[in-house]
Symmetry: C2
Subunit: 107 residues, 2 copies
Amino acid sequence: MDVFKLAEMIRYQPDKMAKVDVASSPRLICGLNCFEPGQVQKVHAHKGADKLYYVVEGSGEFSVGGEKRTLSAGEVLYVPEGLEHGVVNTSGARLAVLIVITPNLHS
Amino acid sequence: MDVFKLAEMIRYQPDKMAKVDVASSPRLICGLNCFEPGQVQKVHAHKGADKLYYVVEGSGEFSVGGEKRTLSAGEVLYVPEGLEHGVVNTSGARLAVLIVITPNLHS
């Protein structure tokens, strides 16, 4: 049974956002994106794949299609395929985000 | 921007598990499944679609392919397509679970 305790999997690195794999198949990619204060996920888009963000800990500024909003632990953001999106940890504390991308275009 | 504060969306009903829609597209269904103590999601399977559970609050017994395990807030369960799975709130408190099914076979 594929169970993942997120609190034990979160890790940070000093130079850039850390990525942690959780699960993947042809239908999805699930992972953690972990940001020290100031770290960034550059604005990008996934043609043909939707993305969900769930904020596990901390808060930061999320942008979708040029709109920006600060999200905190417990909030979900849905990004439809093709829309540009990115993250900046504008807070003074660590930010960990669970992401799901569907389908997995790299499988 | 499609932002969802899960804590404000969770709702329970006395007769059976409550379902709350979060987001959907041809590529995914995202929602909340909310269980009062003793409530059940019967064992079922999605042919051709994977499922992710993320426990938002509480704990309960999850089964996948006949194996059972108690999961608590902060844990993720990955269910590959075709495998039977279900949930029983075996705890004495409320259980809320975020679910993602991919792709959306009903779109």
